[in-house]
Structures are given as C-alpha cells and as structure tokens.
C-alpha cells in the first residue's frame, strides 16, 4: 500500500532528489574532512600560512567541481527544479548557513591552531574535559547541526555523518594530545567512510537514472 503523502513530504522528496540522491554532496563532504584530517601533516611540510592557502584553494576547487558535476552528471538525468521561496524557507536557509559557517569555523579553529585558543580551566571537572573542551563543543555542534539537517530533510544518513565527524574530531584531538599522533586518523577514517557512501550512491544513481533519450 502506498504511503500517505503530505505537502511537507513532497517538499522533502524534491529536496532529497535534487541534493542528496546523486551522492555528490556526500563525496564533497568526505573529501573536505579528508583534507582537514591530513591538515597537520601538510602544515608541517608547508608552514601554516601556505597550508591554509592550499586548503582554501582545494576547498574552492572542490565546491566548483561539485557544482560542475551536478550540472553535467545529475541535471541531465534527474532534470532541474527551481525551489519555491517562502519567508519561512528563507529564514530556515539563513539559519542553516549561519550554523554551517559557525560549525566550520569552530572545526577549523580546533584543528588548525588549538594552541592559540585561550583555554578556560574547569577546576571542578576531570582534567581531560579541560584539555578537550573546545573539541567537545565543536563535536556537539557538528552532531547537532547534522541531526537538524537530517530531521529537516528526512535524509537519515546525515545522523550517521554527524556522529562520525563529531566523534572523529574528538578522537583525533585526543590521540594527538595523549598518544602523539601526527595526523587526525579517526577523522580520516570517518571522512573515508562518508566518501565511500557517496561513491556508492553515485554509482547507484547512474544506474537508476540513465539519461533520457527524447525530449518533447
């Protein structure tokens, strides 16, 4: 029996088909966190300024590549739709952008120069909490943001991504601080999993949606 469908569910289906079905977004996210994972290694090799420049340049190429791939790979297969703008949707979009930027900034601040951030001391808490306070906050923000996105879009794998990246980020800092790891191995593993999920989604997408051969 077919599921009852509401107007919210219709909007979610449109959003899912246009943004999450082809796996390109997942792959972009995976590569972005992979770059963040190997950031400490390249920083040692290139120095902080040059490394940051390289990271931002790669990020820009990544985003441009995703937009281009969407135009040449996805659009001919699933078509295009212009989203309907309502005041509520515009407000939601603005909040999401602010949250994404804030989280991304927090992740960057945590991963790139943890020593430069003034560390408040929490005397009534265990020592490791004081060591990882910024990372705990960043991880909670990441998990919260991805959970919110999953809830609003109905894309359940975003819950998994939130936990993978959040815990990967926390574990990376803990390993660096306590075990002297040279790079963010847990974050690289988390990013690799996301990248593989994106790749499998893309393969499924290409099989499921061949380019239609006729036009009216």
């Amino acid at each position: 029996m077919a599921q009852p469908i509401t107007s919210t569910e219709v909007q979610r289906r449109v959003l899912r088909l246009l943004n999450y079905e082809d796996g390109l977004w997942d792959m972009t996210l995976g590569v972005m966190f992979l770059l963040l994972g190997i950031y400490p290694v390249t920083r040692r090799l290139l120095g902080p300024a040059l490394n940051l420049l390289l990271f931002l340049a790669l990020l820009a190429i990544l985003v441009a590549g995703q937009l281009y791939a969407r135009r040449v790979v996805s659009a001919p297969r699933i078509g295009m739709a212009k989203p309907r703008r309502t005041p509520a949707k515009t407000a939601l979009l603005a909040i999401t952008v602010v949250l994404v930027l804030a989280t991304f900034g927090l992740v960057l601040a945590t991963l790139l120069s943890p020593q430069s951030i003034p560390e408040p001391r929490w005397t009534h808490l265990p020592e490791w909490v004081g060591d990882l306070d910024v990372d705990i906050l960043a991880s909670l923000a990441i998990i919260g943001l991805f959970s919110l996105m999953a809830y609003l879009s109905g894309v359940l794998r975003l819950y998994l991504y939130g936990w993978l990246i959040g815990l990967g980020n926390l574990a990376s800092t803990a390993l660096t601080l306590y075990a002297g790891y040279a790079f963010n191995l847990p974050l690289v593993i988390a990013a690799g999993i996301i990248l593989l999920i994106g790749l499998s989604l893309l393969i499924r997408f290409l099989k499921k949606y061949p380019i239609p051969t006729a036009e009216v």
């Binding site: 107007s7 219709v10 449109v14 088909l17 739709a81 949606y209 239609p212 006729a214 036009e215 009216v216």
Partner: protein
C-alpha cells in the same frame, strides 16, 4: 436496468470534484509543481514516475485547462521544457483538497 439517478446533491458528495485534478498521475504532477517555483520535463518525469508519452499527454491536458504554463526553450542547444503551476492551477489544487477533505470528513461521521 440502470440504477436511479441521485436526486439530491448530498447523495453525490463528489459531484463537484475537479476530474482533471482527480486523475492520480495529474494530481501527482500538480502536487510536485505546487512545491517548486518551476520544474523541467525530466524532473517531473522522475518524481511522478511517468514515461515521456504519458507525462506529455497529462501536461497537454493540464495546459488545456490552464492549470500549468509550459515554456519550451533551448538549453545548451537542446530542447528544454519548463513547467510552472499557474494561479488557476494552484487554486484548483486547493479547492480539490478542500472538497476531498470535506467529503472524507463527512464519511467519517
């Protein structure tokens, strides 16, 4: 022998339902168009799960009654059809929803 025609409007609660909207494929098309500003032919084909011919025929019907506006252009030298729900179409969908809701509510009592 044919069954007797209902005399009262109350005996035919779905008499004023819009039959153009009532058809499942057209209702699906209108539902998806109502959630976007505009969509192209391929997108509608994918979300509605219809074939080229089927979608084309339903869109012609919807355009005929003024529920959708169809614009045919070229995108990168290829034909590109963009469809938009008209004000009349949006109103028809709203009225249809109200009629069905009212009828189903009455049925529940």
């Amino acid at each position: 022998m044919r069954p007797p025609e209902p005399k009262d409007e109350a005996d035919r609660p779905l008499a004023d339902v819009d039959r153009v909207v009532h058809e499942p494929a057209r209702l699906t098309i209108l539902m998806y168009l109502s959630s976007v500003e505009s969509a192209d032919f391929v997108f509608l084909m994918r979300v509605a799960g219809l074939t080229w011919g089927n979608l084309s025929s339903h869109l012609s019907k919807l355009e005929e009654v003024g529920y959708v506006e169809i614009e045919k252009t070229f995108l990168r030298k290829k034909p590109h059809t963009v469809i938009q729900l008209s004000k009349r179409g949006r109103r028809a969908l709203r009225d249809y929803r109200q009629t069905m809701q009212r009828t189903l509510d009455q049925l529940g009592h």
